[in-house]
Amino acid sequence: MPEDKTIKELGLDEYKYGFRDPEEYFFKTPRKGIDPEIVAMISKHKNEPQWMLEFRLEALQHFLEKPTPTWGGDLSELDFDDIYYYIRPIENQGRSWDEVPEDIKNTFDRLGIPQAEREILAGVGAQYESEVVYHNLKKEWEEQGVVFLDMDGGLREHEDLVREYFGTVIPPDDNKFAALNSAVWSGGSFVYVPPGVHVDIPLQAYFRINAENMGQFERTLIIADEGSYVHYIEGCTAPTYTTNSLHSAVVELIAKPNARIRYSTIQNWSHNTYNLVTKRAVAYENATVEWVDGNLGSKLTMKYPAVYLMGEGARGEILSVAYAGDGQHQDAGGKVVHVAPNTSSLITSKSISKGTGRSSYRGLLKVHEGAVGSKSRVECDALLLDEKARTDTYPYIEIEEKKVNTEHEATVSKVGEDQLFYLMSRGLSEEEAMAMVVNGFIEPIAKELPLEYAIELNRLIQLEMEGSVG
């Protein structure tokens, strides 16, 4: 095992995206903390319809009434009064990168977003603090009726759709953090894919927190109409400050009959970010929802993407990979609720704990009475790289229907000495051998991502791994 000193000397455990821009903003709430006045200020600033203001204020009540969860990760250091809830970096959103202010554009350049847009994406949204600063959808998709806007734009241009679906999958009283998001949400994406339209290259949103003591609360709503397909990718980073940031998103997905939504996340927040996210999808007849969820960054992540299988033949798949390094706690997993007959689900979770890192799988598999013929399988593998690392598995399995088949399996292991020995006997260094074993371990997840992202994931993990063998 490595000496901590060695890693530090090598400078390899540094967070690569920790750079920051100077803080210059168009608008920022006058004080930290949250109350009805701040909420009303945000809503007014956005010039929202009255119903949204009421929605926000009601959500705020739920937030204030609900206790902070005591399960999962340690939230005792999270101070809701020490956070700025809304920061608008610039006045207007850009439709081309040239319209985005130089320093913000440079940030996204360094993150490789404009290049990815040119090469592999159908559309891109880039959120900086509370607002989306750049948004573009390629013409061919726009012509087919695909809507890809930031959530505020969605509310302005498609108010009826938003009003119909917003908060229906995750109501404001669902949990404390969903309530918080519902009260102060800003930014995020609104996606609508018309019946039968297959958006066969991904849409991407990129989220960046720059300011210190900043809370980012983006809100995403994706509606895939009958028989359509869309793949949405989100990535996130933030600078490293000595104080903590909070990211608390709400993501709602609606897959109409025969539709398919794939939602991929590569979460790489800086190691002082609390990442407390609620993600949930409903899948109707023969629809498929897939969550591909990679958690590498943050101080504490609590996130359990969910699929409610509401229509016969619906399918849900959750692939989760978590990497917890020194001081990090990844409390991730997935939830599947089988409501309709002949629905099927698969949850695959892979986690790696290194140093003093802790990764936990927390999941729910629920089969309601009447979900006859449902099949579900949950598989969790955990890899421990250090003596001080920790891994937990907390699956909840509730079965109310007998004509079902459910399986849950979990294994925990360390990197096998025989595996390492074999690879090293083939001429690999110990470090290379270790990286190869780890890559093999996450391979089932990486292969579900578009090539460029899979490479990025492997590279990120390799970067975190470097110097870990001594």
Binding site: W71, E369, G370, A382, L384, L385, D386, E387, K388, A389, R390, T391, D392, T393, Y394, P395, Y396, I397, E398, I399, E400, E401, K402, K403, V404, N405, T406, E407, H408, E409, A410, T411, V412, S413, K414
Partner: protein, 453 residues
């Protein structure tokens, strides 16, 4: 002991400081125990009643259980010979495993105990806890409440405050006992019974001990609140069986915790068939290197029964091994909860731990099986895995049997037996196995034809 001489305060429902003092005085207990009981009673008063909001109770609704309604102490008639025991108890004994020592707790009192001369000569002690306190005070003082302390939960606190009867088994170093030792807890009133089992197995000894719980049918509710502490010394070997078959009016709460010495082996089997609500915590402490624990569980819930098992494989030392298999069937409107945790403490390297829970849902769709197989691993050089499945009777198996000319109903029974066979085949006790088979058959029994799809 007859009802004569029972202090008046023990004839009133509920447990107060007065009850605890009177019980301790009635049993002529040493001062340290009276103090301990009172301290436990204060803990009991302090801990709120668990609700569905408590993680460990989130599926187990015990809001109908009211301690203040139960008599804290239920007397029983005097018995001098085995033939004077209630007929039902004699039947239990006859149908049970052959035994080398026997103890019967009838309601709150131990009314009968017997031990083979040969064992006595070897220094084996098997008696009720009150006698043990008088005759082997030092050992009891050292060990009692050591594994299930009053602070464990509200029920453990109540047990420490108000236990009576109970059994104490002491097996000296190197003594190997072939024939099982058996205790029966029999309840035929509607009060509460608070048995405690304390087993101390010294270095290199080996034996099988069976705790069996049964009662007379009754309309009024009764409460059984137990604690079982199993100390197994270096290289020793204990097979422990808990067979719970209370009538449906009984609420059953029990915590079983073992501590295994270096290279010791503990095989436990916990069977839960009876009671309206049954909550059993089973904890194996792998406290020394090389210790080994096999944990088997078997449950069958019907009607509106709630059967809840919380298990813990507590790996405190390196190079230990544990293997858990809990299998349950459920039907009608019943609810079963299995919550199992493998916890590997820092430094418990080379741990090998396995956990499997399988549930079979029979009959109507109103039953619900909850399975929570948890892992908490804080050491890196370990092999741990768990698995959980829930399903119905396998159509392929049924079809195969039916194609061999076996009628559907019989085929279904065979499949259920086959399901439990994976557990029962791992128990080398013929009498017990037959008893389990009969109980399973009874559970499948009446009305099964209509209910199994």
């Amino acid at each position: 002991m007859s009802a004569n001489g029972v202090p008046e305060v023990l004839k009133k429902p509920g447990v107060t400081a007065e009850t605890v003092k009177a019980l301790s005085a009635f049993k002529d207990e040493p001062a340290w125990l009276t103090e301990k009981r009172l301290e436990a009673w204060r803990t009991f008063e302090k801990i709120p009643m668990p609700t569905l909001r408590d993680e460990a109770w989130r599926y187990t609704d015990i809001s109908e259980v009211r301690f203040e309604e139960f008599l804290p102490y239920a007397p029983s008639p005097d018995v001098t010979r085995e033939g004077d025991l209630p007929d039902a108890v004699q039947t239990l004994i006859k149908e049970g495993e052959e035994n080398s020592a026997l103890l019967v707790q009838h309601n709150s009192e131990t009314t009968f105990s017997r031990i083979d001369e040969e064992l006595k000569k070897k220094g084996v002690v098997f008696t009720d806890l009150h006698t043990a306190l008088r005759e082997h005070g030092e050992i009891v003082k050292e060990r009692l409440f050591g594994l299930v302390p009053e602070g464990y939960d509200k029920f453990a606190a109540l047990s420490a405050a108000a236990f009576s009867g109970g059994s104490f088994l002491y097996v000296p170093r190197g003594v190997e006992i072939e024939v099982p030792i058996q205790s029966y807890r029999w309840l035929d009133v509607t009060g509460s019974i608070m048995p405690r089992t304390l087993v101390v197995v010294e270095e290199g000894a080996s034996l099988t001990y069976i705790d069996e719980y049964a009662s007379e049918e009754n309309e009024e509710p009764a409460l059984s609140n137990g604690a079982v502490e199993l100390y197994v010394g270096e290289g020793a070997n204990l097979r422990y069986v808990s067979l719970q078959n209370w009538a449906r009016n009984v609420y059953h709460f029990n915590t079983i915790r073992s501590s295994a010495g270096k290279d010791a082996t503990i095989n436990s089997l916990v069977v839960s068939f009876g009671a309206g609500i049954a909550r059993t915590n089973v904890e194996a402490g792998l406290s020394a290197p090389g210790s080994d624990s096999e944990m088997l569980g078997l449950y069958f819930a019907d009607e509106d029964q709630l059967i809840d098992h919380h298990t813990l494989q507590d790996h405190l030392a390196p190079n230990a091994h544990s293997d858990l298999l809990y299998k349950g069937a459920l039907r009608d409107e019943s609810l079963t909860v299995f919550s199992g945790l493998i916890r590997v403490e820092p430094g418990a390297q080379k741990t090998d731990a396995y956990q499997t829970n399988r549930n079979l849902i029979l009959g109507t769709d109103d039953a619900m099986a909850v399975s929570l197989p948890n892992l908490e691993i804080m050491a890196d050089d370990v092999k741990c895995s768990h698995g959980s499945t829930t399903g119905q009777v396998d159509d392929v198996e049924l079809f195969y049997l039916m194609s061999r000319g076996i009628p559907r109903i019989e085929a279904e029974k065979l499949v259920v037996f086959g399901f439990f066979g994976e557990v029962t085949s791992r128990i080398p006790l013929k009498g017990l196995k037959e008893k389990l088979d009969r109980a399973i058959e009874e559970k499948i029994g009446l009305g099964f034809e209509e209910r199994v799809a």
